[in-house]
């Protein structure tokens, strides 16, 4: 089915997508092997760090253009999260004087009165709070974010009417709602809400399953398709190696019982993520799953195969945990190295949280995207 790609990207999160986009932009023939959504799809919606131009274009192409927010973004935990870029829905939720924090009847995890006080204190502004019903069809057990978002996809008008009334009563200058304004048609839903309310309506950041993260992931896929990047749904289960080069990989498709594919490429980007994405696996020993690169754990020293599990955690949970920073060590060009610092594969470039020293729990996206672009350019 293929006579070889210029670049095969393993992993379709933000780092992998950025690598594929960067290489496609240089006219290379690129494919992405993607097991499923990973940490990128669980992001809250606050982009920290640089937004490479090819990634920004792809996100806009996918219907989620990113802008610079005027301030820190409100998180449903009650704090303000600094962000360098965010989708318009999140940018409109920057707390300003007289904004109305609007909860929804039956939706847990968003206490409007408490959040208005916490966000207001953090931003140094006065916020109003209200709780409105999203129509008469509130399920007896309450809304889940996805059920509410899907209901708003179908018909945003009951919530739009309720928001309009709440704005009329409070005289609010903008409205901050939980991140539930639509699953597939969020731009249209938010436009309808804003039009009815007569003021900007923004969404707070999301908590898993985060709709802003899900939309970001969908937008990346759409952007990859537009850029002419082929996306293969599956996971790498085999590799063919000649000397210090990966010649081909065997991919087991995620859907159904389809036969394993053999994909050949001149170069590879390893961007499979850490524990959530499945890039680093702990099963008795710790290993890199796709290409079998040596794994380095900070204070154990050189890349290891057998390890003492206790060496990977600090008893003090407030300290950075070595386990979260375990990963593939690279040389200056981003190629995987072993314990002696020798390059393991000359045609593989590593990007994102699969790398050693990068914690999967760090906020960001930007750093991974930048690394992805660098890897894509080096490999392409």
């Amino acid at each position: 089915m293929n006579d070889g790609y210029d670049l095969l990207v393993l992993g379709g999160g933000i780092a992998g997508a950025a690598a594929a986009l960067a290489a496609a932009r240089r006219g290379r023939r690129v494919a992405v092997v993607r097991g499923g959504p990973g940490a990128t799809a669980l992001s809250a919606g606050a982009w920290r760090g640089p937004l490479p131009v090819e990634v920004g274009e792809a996100l806009a192409e996918g219907g989620v253009p990113h802008e610079r927010p005027a301030g820190a973004l409100p998180h449903p935990r009650g704090e303000l999260v600094p962000a360098d870029h965010a989708a318009p829905a999140q940018c409109r939720a920057v707390p300003v004087e007289g904004a109305l924090v609007c909860g929804i009847v039956g939706l847990p995890g968003f206490d409007a009165a408490a959040l208005a006080r916490l966000w207001g204190e953090a931003a140094g502004v006065r916020l109003e709070a209200a709780v409105v019903a999203a129509g008469s069809g509130t399920p007896a057990a309450g809304w889940s974010p996805v059920a509410l978002a899907a209901a708003l996809d179908r018909d945003p008008s009951p919530l739009a009417d309720a928001l309009a009334e709440a704005v009329r009563v409070s005289g609010a200058t903008r409205v901050i709602v939980p991140a539930v304004a639509g699953l597939e048609r969020s731009a249209a839903v938010l436009a309808a809400l804003g039009e009815a309310a007569g003021v900007p309506v923004g969404e707070a950041l999301g908590v898993p399953p985060s709709l802003p993260g899900w939309r970001l992931d969908r937008a990346l896929l759409a952007g990859l398709a537009t850029a002419g990047v082929e996306v293969v749904q599956g996971r790498v289960v085999e590799r063919e190696v000649e000397g210090r080069r990966v010649v081909a990989v065997g991919v087991r498709p995620t859907r159904g019982d389809a036969e394993a594919l053999r994909l050949e490429a001149a170069a590879y980007v390893l961007a499979t993520g850490k524990y959530l994405g499945g890039g680093i696996v702990v099963e008795g020993t710790i290993r890199e799953a796709a290409l079998g690169c040596p794994v380095r754990v900070d204070h154990v020293g050189p890349p290891v195969e057998a390890f003492d599990a206790l060496a990977l955690t600090h008893a003090d949970r407030s300290l950075p945990q070595p386990l979260l920073r375990a990963g593939v060590e690279t040389d200056a060009q981003g190629r995987p190295v072993d314990g002696r610092g020798d390059v393991v594969y000359e045609n593989v470039y590593v990007a994102g949280t699969v790398r050693a020293g990068r914690s999967g729990s760090e906020p960001g996206l930007g750093a991974a995207a930048k690394e992805g672009v660098r890897a894509g350019e080096a490999a392409g």
């Binding site: 799809a41 669980l42 059920a147 898993p208 859907r255 959530l276």
Partner: protein, 139 residues
Amino acid sequence: MRGRAFAWANLGYRFALHLLRLPLRPFRRGRDEARFLGAVVREGYVPLEAGEREAFPSFMACIGCGLCTLACPSLREAPRDAWAEAWTFVVGPSRSIDRPALLDAPACARCGDCALACPMEVPIPRLTALVERLASAAK
């Protein structure tokens, strides 16, 4: 001290009883099993089939991220009370859930979109089949 002496004596008595009963075991097997199953079924538990037992460890990989609920077309079309916290459905077999209520939930079409969205590769359609079977068996 007296409590401990009693505990040891009791343990010895039970063990002696156990040794005496050992030769009878082949004859009692069916009866004990029936008694056990009777008690368990009364509690609303349903024995797992061999294939389900085999697949169980893969079900337990669920980390409760909820991505499957975002991917499921059935959930979008017919959000119902039973699905309000749909990811409990995935970890459901290990928890106390209202199984008959799940029967009112929209039928799973086995499209597999949920499994594609699962970062931990939980075979969710197999799990849905299991929960549907348990729900109808407990009805």
